[in-house]
Assembly symmetry: C2
Homo-oligomer: 116 residues x 2
Amino acid sequence: MMDRSCPGVVEPILELLDGKWTLLLLFELLNGTKRFGELRRKLQPISPKTLTDRLRLLEEKGLVTRTLYPGVPLHVEYEFTESGKALQPIFEAMWNWTQEHGTYLKKDMALAVLNN
Amino acid sequence: MMDRSCPGVVEPILELLDGKWTLLLLFELLNGTKRFGELRRKLQPISPKTLTDRLRLLEEKGLVTRTLYPGVPLHVEYEFTESGKALQPIFEAMWNWTQEHGTYLKKDMALAVLNN
DNA sequence: CTCCATAGTTCATTTTTTGAAACTATTGCA
DNA sequence: TGCAATAGTTTCAAAAAATGAACTATGGAG
């Protein structure tokens, strides 16, 4: 994907954070264990395909675990690994930047945040 | 106080960092003022179109300034605004995460960056 | 033996992004 | 006049990513 002349140090994290929805998904998981349907609702209007794609990828990279609970109805829980939890400082730095420099926050977004 | 993990808060930054090459480009600018051709060489094999697209977008968002120096040959310098410089903690957090959890990191890449 | 709820999968299509190639603009100098 | 060096722009095709609609799997309750 990237040339070796690029600052390779960030390569791993670039791959992780890549893709529409990925960062929002990670944000959700930062709040703790979440079920598939729960994530789907929170990330509306994400498609179930995209959501599974992202989750599978994150699982593959060792950032989240997937646990199936049999029973009726069955359900599945997604949770950060230690590696995933360790992303928190990055998100905090983003949060801080946004507080001071993010001027694009739209009113409806703000409301969504407050109602969450 | 707002929930730090709430996705909406971080939308502005997601938009900023979005797109292939964007993060790598920001990394370059973190090292100081850069000319168009310089960026193009460092980010090889980026196309000039994509590079201008990215630079224009970052300019629009207030993260970089573009300064034209007439003369022969003319040249152009791109530089972070204060807002752009303030991204540094985010990159540092990424760097730290990669040190501890990025399994793709190669030592010579890291050195190349540090010597830059 | 059908239904419900959960959590997906499959495949075709659309949308978005990226890229390659060729071309433009500026201006001093030989 | 024509050239050299920088910094782009333009156009169109190709590739990648996202979406939508419909379908599958599970297993107990009725």
